[in-house]
C-alpha cells in the first residue's frame, strides 16, 4: 500500500514556449511506493512536465519538492543524484557496443568502473530483467534493449522512476514481464510516474492517475475504478466512438506479393525470406510483429525505396511494379505511410505546404510547381483531417506527433489510392488522433481500396483488420481471418522467433567472477 507521505510534490509548475503554454499551473503529488499514471493526449504537456522533473527543461514558474526538501534540478545529473531516474521512449543505445559498455556510457564516471558487469547481473536478476552484460546490443530485441535502459536507471538506486510510454514497443508477454518488475519496484517503496496512452494497462497497473489536457490538470482518479472509455473521455474532454470494422468484402485482388526474398542491407538488418500475401479491394490486411522483425525492410520494398528482387515480386492491379521506384508506384495508384514521421514521411524543417509535394508533385511537364494547387491541397488536408496547426506555412516540426500523423495520413488518402500501405499508423499518437486515423483507413477500405496495416499494436489490428499475418525474423506467417484468432495466440506467434537464439548463458560469467 502506498505510504501517505508525498515523495514528489509539484506546485504550480508552468512552462511556455513561444505561442503556446505547454504546461500551465500544474500541481499534483506522487506518494512513496505508488505507480502514478500521467494521462493525456499528445501535446497535453506530459513530456514537458516530466522533462522538468528530470531536469531537462527549466520551469518558468512554480516549485517542486522531493521528500520535503526543495527540488530544482538544472540538469539530469542533479535529478539522478536526488534519486530521480527516467526511462525514455526512444532508447539511446549503440548497436555495436556491448550491454555493459552501453550502461557505462550513461552512468557517472565513478559508477561506470569496477565490477559494473557484476552489478548489472545482480540488478537484472533481482528484478527479473534477464540480460547478459557481454552481449552486443545490436543482437538484442527491443524488449531486451528496454531492459538495458531500466537496469541503467535502477543501478543508481532511484526512489522515483519516470517511464515514458514503455510498452509501446513490447509484445504482450514482454509487457506482462515489465509490469511484474514495476510492481516489485513499487512494493519496495520506489515510486513510478508512468506515462502511457494505453488505457487498459493504466487500469491494470496504476493506483492513481493525473489527467492533463492543454497543459492543465483536468482531473485525477483511481483508474482501477474507471472504464477505459471513461478515462479516454476525461483525457479528450469529449465523447468519442470507436471505429467499426466493415463487413468482409471479397473484391478483386489489388495487391500481390510473391516470393519476396531479399538479403539484409546492414549488419543488424533483417533478411526477408519468401514473403507471400495478397490483399483484395475493401480489405484491411494486418501484419503483426515485434519491432525489428523485418517490418521496415518489407515497407521499403513495398514503397519502392528498395528495389524488389524481380519485377513480379510486387503486383498492383495486375501490373508488376517490383522494380519500380516510389514515384512510378504512386502513378499506379499506390500510397504509403512509413513509420517514421520525422524525416521519412515528412520533412521536419519544411512547411506543411511543401510537405504536400513529397507524395504528389503538382508540377508541369517542365517541372514548374503549381504552388496555388499545392496550397489548396494543404488547406484541404488540414480541414478534412482536423489537423491542429497555426497555419500551413509553419514547419512540420512545430506540429505535435498526432497532428503531423493526421496530416501525413490525410495527404496520402487525398491522392485517392487504390492500394495503401501504412506502417505503425498510430504509433506515438494520442487516442483522439488514433481513432480518427483508424476511421479514415476503414473508410478508404469501404471505397474499395486494399489497405495493408503493419503494426505492433495488437489491439489496433484486432479492431480494424479483416485478416492478419505475423512477421517474425523476416518471415510472414500464412494469413488468417481475424475471427479465428485471439490476441494471446498472436502474441505468442510474435514472440515465437524472437528468442530463436535463447539468451546465451554468460559463458564468461565465471571468469568475470559473477558466480563467485
Amino acid at each position: 500500500m502506498p505510504s501517505a507521505s508525498p515523495l514528489l510534490v509539484i506546485d504550480g509548475l508552468s512552462k511556455s514556449y513561444p505561442g503556446v503554454k505547454a504546461v500551465d499551473d500544474v500541481s499534483f503529488s506522487v506518494v512513496g511506493g505508488e505507480i502514478h499514471a500521467l494521462l493525456g493526449e499528445n501535446g497535453a504537456g506530459k513530456s514537458t512536465l516530466v522533462k522538468m522533473v528530470y531536469g531537462l527543461v527549466a520551469p518558468d514558474q512554480g516549485a517542486m519538492s522531493l521528500d520535503g526538501a526543495p527540488f530544482q534540478p538544472r540538469r539530469p545529473a542533479e535529478a539522478r543524484a536526488r534519486g530521480v531516474g527516467m526511462v525514455f521512449q526512444h532508447f539511446s543505445l549503440f548497436d555495436a557496443l556491448s550491454v555493459e559498455e552501453n550502461v557505462a556510457l550513461g552512468l557517472p564516471q565513478a559508477m561506470a568502473t569496477g565490477d559494473l558487469a557484476t552489478r548489472i547481473t545482480r540488478v537484472s536478476r533481482d528484478y527479473g530483467l534477464e540480460i547478459d552484460p557481454a552481449r552486443l546490443v545490436g543482437e538484442l530485441s527491443v524488449g531486451e534493449r528496454q531492459r538495458i535502459e531500466i537496469v541503467r536507471c535502477l543501478l543508481q538506486n532511484p526512489r522515483l522512476v519516470i517511464m515514458d510510454e514503455p510498452t509501446s514497443v513490447l509484445t504482450p508477454q514482454e509487457a506482462a514481464d515489465l509490469f511484474a518488475t514495476l510492481r516489485q519496484l513499487r512494493d519496495q517503496g520506489c515510486s513510478i510516474l508512468y506515462i502511457s496512452h494505453k488505457l487498459e494497462e493504466i487500469r491494470a497497473l496504476c493506483q492513481r492517475a493525473t489527467i492533463l489536457r492543454g497543459g492543465r490538470v483536468v482531473g485525477s482518479c483511481d483508474p482501477r475504478h474507471e472504464t477505459a472509455r471513461g478515462l479516454a473521455e476525461m483525457m479528450l474532454g469529449a465523447t468519442f466512438t470507436l471505429p467499426q470494422r466493415p463487413e468482409r468484402t471479397d473484391g478483386a485482388v489489388r495487391l500481390q506479393v510473391v516470393g519476396l526474398t531479399l538479403p539484409a542491407v546492414s549488419l543488424f538488418g533483417v533478411a526477408l525470406a519468401d514473403i507471400n500475401f495478397s490483399v483484395c479491394g475493401g480489405e484491411i490486411f494486418g501484419i503483426a510483429g515485434v519491432a525489428g522483425n523485418g517490418q521496415n525492410e518489407l515497407m521499403d520494398v513495398l514503397t519502392g525505396e528498395r528495389s524488389g528482387p524481380t519485377n513480379d515480386a510486387v503486383v498492383v492491379d495486375a501490373l508488376a511494379v517490383g522494380r519500380a521506384g516510389p514515384h512510378e508506384r504512386r502513378a499506379r495508384g499506390m500510397a504509403f505511410v512509413p513509420e517514421e514521421r520525422a524525416g521519412h514521411s515528412a520533412v521536419p524543417g519544411l512547411s506543411l505546404v511543401e510537405n504536400v509535394l513529397l507524395s504528389e508533385r503538382f508540377s508541369s511537364r517542365s517541372g514548374m510547381i503549381d504552388w496555388r494547387a499545392v496550397r489548396a491541397r494543404a488547406n484541404q488536408i488540414v480541414a478534412a483531417f482536423d489537423v491542429r496547426t497555426v497555419g500551413i506555412d509553419h514547419v512540420a516540426r512545430s506540429l505535435s506527433g498526432g497532428n503531423l500523423q493526421k496530416f501525413v495520413v490525410g495527404r496520402e488518402l487525398l491522392t485517392k489510392p487504390g492500394v495503401l500501405i501504412v506502417n505503425q499508423p498510430t504509433w506515438g499518437v494520442d487516442a483522439g488522433a488514433a481513432s480518427a486515423i483508424q476511421s479514415a483507413l476503414l473508410e478508404l477500405a469501404r471505397t474499395g481500396a486494399a489497405v495493408v496495416v503493419i503494426s505492433q499494436d495488437l489491439d489496433e489490428l484486432f479492431q480494424i483488420a479483416t485478416r492478419l499475418a505475423v512477421i517474425a525474423g523476416g518471415r510472414l506467417s500464412p494469413a488468417r481471418p481475424i475471427a479465428e484468432l485471439t490476441i494471446e495466440g498472436i502474441g505468442q506467434a510474435m514472440g515465437g522467433h524472437h528468442h530463436a537464439h535463447p539468451p546465451a548463458p554468460p559463458a564468461d560469467a565465471v571468469e568475470r567472477g559473477i558466480n563467485a
Binding site: 514556449y17 526543495p70 530544482q72 525505396e305 517514421e340 521536419p348 508533385r361 508540377s363 510547381i369
Partner: protein, 364 residues
C-alpha cells in the same frame, strides 16, 4: 551567481527574421572587429575601413574592378549552393574553374589568330563541359565507391593546378614566350566584350546575373529546387518521394562544376586574356564563403559576392596606401564567415537576458 545573465532558449521554429538579419549582424561585427584590429596595428581604423569599403565605389574603375572580382564569385557560389543545400559537398570548384579555363582557352588557341562570332560561345561551352568533366570524377567516386566527395573534390584541385602548369609549359605554350610558362595572348574574337568601356569589366557579369535569376526560379518554383531542399533536410524523405540520391549527386556536381568551369573561362577570356599558371587565384574557395554568406540562396549570393568582391579590392587598396599586411583581405573574409556562423545560433535560439525566473527556493 547561480544563473547566467544571458541564456539561450531554443525556438520552436527557426526565426525567418534572424535568417536574413544575421548576415547583416555578421557584417557589423566584422566592421567592429576590423576597427579594433587596425587600432591594435597602430593604423587609423576609420581611414582603413573607408579605404576598404567606400573608396572603391567612388570611381568608375573601382566599380569595374568590383564587377570583375565578383563575377566568378557569384557564378561559382550559385552553383555550389545547389549542392550544399542538398548535402553534396563540392569543395573543388577551384579545380573545375581551372579545367574550364584550360578547355575553353584551348578552343581559342586552336583557332588562333582567327575565329568568328561563334568562337566565344564555343569557348563558353568548352569551359562548361571542362568543369562538368572534372566535377564528374568526385561524383563518380561518390556514387560508385561511396568515396567522400569533400576529400576527392578538394584533392583534384591540386591535380588541376598542376595540369594547367603542364599545359602552359607544353602543348599550349606560346612558342615566342622565351620559355615563360604562358599561352599566346587571346585573339580579339576570343575576348569577352567590355561592359564598361575602357575598363576590365566584361559581359560575364551580366551572364552571372542571368544565372542568378534562373537559379532563383529553379530554387523557388521548380521541382528540382524542392528536391534539393528535401535532400539537404531529410534524405530518407527524398527517397520516399522517389528522388534518387545518385541523380542528386550527379546533378549537384554537374551544376556546380559547369558554372565553375564557365567562370574559369571568363577569367581567361576576360581580365587575364591568356592562360597563365597564376590564373586560378582562389575564387573557388572564396566562393564557399560567398555561398554561405548568401544563405545558399541565389539572390543572397549576388549580394554576398559583391560584398566579398569589395573587401578584395578595398583590401588591396588599403594594403598599398596604408602599408597594411597582405593578409588583411583574408582576415576580413575569415571574420565575416566566422561571425556569420557564430550569429547563426540566433536563428534557432533566442537570447534571454537577466536572471532565470526563480524556481522554488534555492536548495543546498
Amino acid at each position: 551567481m547561480r544563473n547566467a545573465m544571458v541564456r539561450l532558449e531554443p525556438r520552436r521554429e527557426p526565426s525567418r527574421v534572424m535568417l536574413y538579419a544575421t548576415p547583416f549582424v555578421a557584417f557589423v561585427l566584422t566592421l567592429l572587429a576590423g576597427l579594433v584590429l587596425f587600432w591594435a596595428l597602430g593604423k587609423d581604423p576609420v581611414r582603413a575601413l573607408g579605404l576598404i569599403f567606400i573608396t572603391p565605389l567612388t570611381s568608375v574603375r573601382g566599380v569595374a574592378e568590383l564587377l570583375v572580382k565578383s563575377t566568378p564569385l557569384i557564378l561559382i557560389a550559385t552553383g555550389l549552393a545547389f549542392g550544399f543545400r542538398a548535402g553534396v559537398w563540392n569543395i573543388g570548384a577551384e579545380g573545375q574553374f581551372t579545367i574550364g579555363a584550360i578547355s575553353g582557352g584551348a578552343v581559342a588557341l586552336y583557332f588562333h589568330p582567327g575565329g568568328g562570332p561563334l568562337l566565344l560561345p564555343a569557348m563558353m561551352l568548352a569551359g562548361v563541359l571542362g568543369g562538368v568533366a572534372w566535377a564528374a570524377i568526385p561524383a563518380l567516386l561518390r556514387t560508385h565507391f561511396n568515396a567522400n566527395e569533400i576529400l576527392t573534390s578538394l584533392m583534384l584541385v591540386y591535380v588541376a593546378l598542376l595540369l594547367l602548369g603542364l599545359m602552359v609549359q607544353g602543348p599550349l605554350r606560346d612558342p615566342q614566350s622565351y620559355n615563360f610558362p604562358e599561352s599566346k595572348l587571346f585573339q580579339n574574337a576570343a575576348l569577352l566584350p567590355a561592359l564598361i568601356p575602357k575598363t576590365r569589366a566584361h559581359i560575364g557579369f551580366l551572364i552571372a546575373v542571368g544565372v542568378v535569376a534562373v537559379a532563383h526560379v529553379l530554387m523557388t518554383r521548380h521541382i528540382l529546387g524542392f528536391m534539393v531542399r528535401v535532400f539537404g533536410d531529410a534524405p530518407r524523405a527524398a527517397a520516399f518521394a522517389g528522388f534518387s540520391e545518385k541523380r542528386m549527386v550527379w546533378l549537384s556536381f554537374a551544376i556546380s562544376g559547369g558554372l565553375a568551369g564557365l567562370s574559369g573561362l571568363f577569367e581567361a577570356a576576360g581580365p587575364v586574356g591568356q592562360l597563365v599558371p597564376q590564373l586560378p587565384s582562389g575564387y573557388g574557395f572564396t566562393a564557399i564563403i560567398v555561398a554561405f554568406l548568401g544563405r545558399l540562396q541565389p539572390l543572397g549570393i549576388l549580394a554576398a559576392g559583391l560584398l566579398l568582391g569589395l573587401t578584395h579590392i578595398g583590401g588591396e587598396t588599403a594594403q598599398i596606401t596604408m602599408s597594411l599586411p597582405s593578409a588583411t583581405t583574408s582576415v576580413f573574409q575569415g571574420m565575416l564567415l566566422f561571425f556569420l556562423l557564430a550569429s547563426d545560433v540566433l536563428v534557432n535560439f533566442r537570447l534571454r537576458f537577466g536572471l532565470r525566473a526563480p524556481v522554488g527556493v534555492g536548495g543546498n
